[in-house]
Amino acid sequence: DQQVKQNSPSLSVQEGRISILNCDYTNSMFDYFLWYKKYPAEGPTFLISISSIKDKNEDGRFTVFLNKSAKHLSLHIVPSQPGDSAVYFCAASVGGYNKLIFGAGTRLAVHP
């Protein structure tokens, strides 16, 4: 029973264009959503979060959009850079103590 799903295992984008990573969830009780980025042989790094009472949050080149009616969120990276090539995980928080449920990840490749 996957409560957080990232249906695209991979995405390829040209440098300078927009990258859009998608995430769907099933539990309407999630109160926060977070995105992490992971390079090989490293731990995930926190990127950006959004509260369930918001529909948008921006931080530099990264914007997260939340559509509660569709139980869908997306991460936009503009403009995409080669250094953005990594695996991106969507995660959701529920039940207190910051416990997170993670999606399976999407591998982003940004090519020149």
């Binding site: 992490y36 731990g43 926190f46 995980f89 910051n98 416990k99 997170l100 993670f102 990840g105």
Partner: protein
Amino acid sequence: NAGVTQTPKFRILKIGQSMTLQCAQDMNHNYMYWYRQDPGMGLKLIYYSVGAGITDKGEVPNGYNVSRSTTEDFPLRLELAAPSQTSVYFCASSYREVNYGYTFGSGTRLTVV
């Protein structure tokens, strides 16, 4: 400014052996976590702790034990290792506020043969 330090980085265990994965953080975070990541899967919560002396089970606790005697350290014990425990293990810590996210260690790659 080390953040979260995990040791060892790699380990091969034989079936039935035991070991302890070490995790230490220097950010004075109250909350600490152990996750495992299997190939093609998201991270799954094994155990977590909200302060020294307080631990609780996550989604996949069977075959593992933890302790938290200090704020800094949160070791994960594997008893009677099984091939199903072959995985990459990540330790993380956080502030009480969820919107700041976790700080993760670099992981321990464990193979049970």
